[in-house]
């Protein structure tokens, strides 16, 4: 049922982040900020929640004396994203049949 939807993924900002991370091997903070159009604080907040849920991993290092944060979706995150997409597909298919 609807209450079983993964709310960590279901939030639009975090969903967009996972869509990008699902499509690539890894990406840095600047790339995600540019692609999602979020502010730095907003993006950081969403990334913290995703990391706390175990859906992404972060790797912090320095490059040319500038901080570099690399983000990667975890296997658990990948699996959870697939399950979320499959569930949403079923829900919306039923909803579509209901409203037709």
């Amino acid at each position: 049922m609807v209450e079983q939807i993964d709310k960590t993924i279901h939030e639009p900002g975090r969903l967009l982040i996972l869509i990008y991370l699902f499509s690539v091997e890894k990406a840095d903070f600047t790339f995600l900020k540019m692609q999602t159009g979020m502010t730095q604080g907003n993006l950081s907040s969403h990334l913290q929640k995703l990391e706390a849920a175990g859906y992404i991993s972060t790797e912090k290092k320095f490059r040319n004396k500038r901080p570099l944060t690399l983000l990667k979706i975890t296997d658990m995150g990948r699996e959870s994203f697939r399950n979320y997409v499959t569930e949403m597909h079923h829900y919306f298919k039923e909803l579509f049949d209901m409203v037709r």
Partner: protein, 208 residues
């Protein structure tokens, strides 16, 4: 907030990060322009081995310079992304296919004793060269979802054909390859420069 996007749109945006700075246009233009110096070096009676070293050195300097610019100028603005293994493999296979095709063309020309740099009378040397560049550039455009590379391909082919035409009229030498290369390459470098300028204006460095 951007609305959720479909996978094709995601792929297009990912490819955009690769070519939107115009540096790929600059590199392709420089490579084509460098191609034009080979017949000129031939005319000096230079040892073919030395000529090859000069050509390859120019090519290496161009590639390294553009890669350095990518790292120094583009990455701080667009961020870094490593494409998925599937996408990287697909691109690598396409590029391998293109390189294999070009290698086979040169191999066949050697086996059938075609001389690529000598005057063979009616052999329209510029045309197959223009065709090779057309294939390369349109393939690049298809991989990167960058429609301007299709236009580059058509432009380069047309310029090379024009060069061959003027060679047949006796106006140009070396099948018109040097001026064609310089002109086609120059236009692409200029176009790339304009894209780079617009890119730098649109994306300031994130100091945060």
């Amino acid at each position: 907030m951007n609305r959720p996007v479909l996978s094709k749109e995601i792929h297009r945006r990912l490819m955009l990060t690769i070519h939107q700075d115009g540096l790929l246009d600059v590199l392709a233009g420089l490579i084509i322009a460098t191609f034009g110096i080979v017949p000129l070096l031939d005319n000096t009676g230079m040892n073919p081995g030395v000529r090859q070293v000069i050509f390859l050195s120019c090519y290496l300097v161009e590639v390294v310079s553009v890669l350095w610019l990518k790292r120094a100028v583009t990455s701080p603005r667009t961020g870094m992304v490593t494409l998925s293994r599937r996408t990287s493999t697909r691109i690598s296979l396409i590029l391998l296919g293109i390189n294999t095709f070009i290698f086979l063309v040169f191999l066949l020309s050697y086996l059938f004793k075609w001389s690529l740099w000598e005057n063979l009378g009616s052999f329209q040397l510029s045309v197959p060269l223009g065709l090779i560049f057309l294939i390369l550039l349109t393939s690049l455009g298809a991989i990167l979802k960058a429609s301007r590379f299709y236009l580059y391909g058509i432009l380069v082919m047309a310029i090379f054909m024009g060069g061959e035409y003027f060679f047949n009229l006796g106006i140009l030498g070396n099948h018109g390859i040097p001026p064609s290369s310089f002109m086609a390459g120059g236009i692409m470098v200029l176009s790339g420069g304009i894209h780079l300028y617009n890119f730098l204006k649109k994306y300031p460095v994130d100091r945060g």
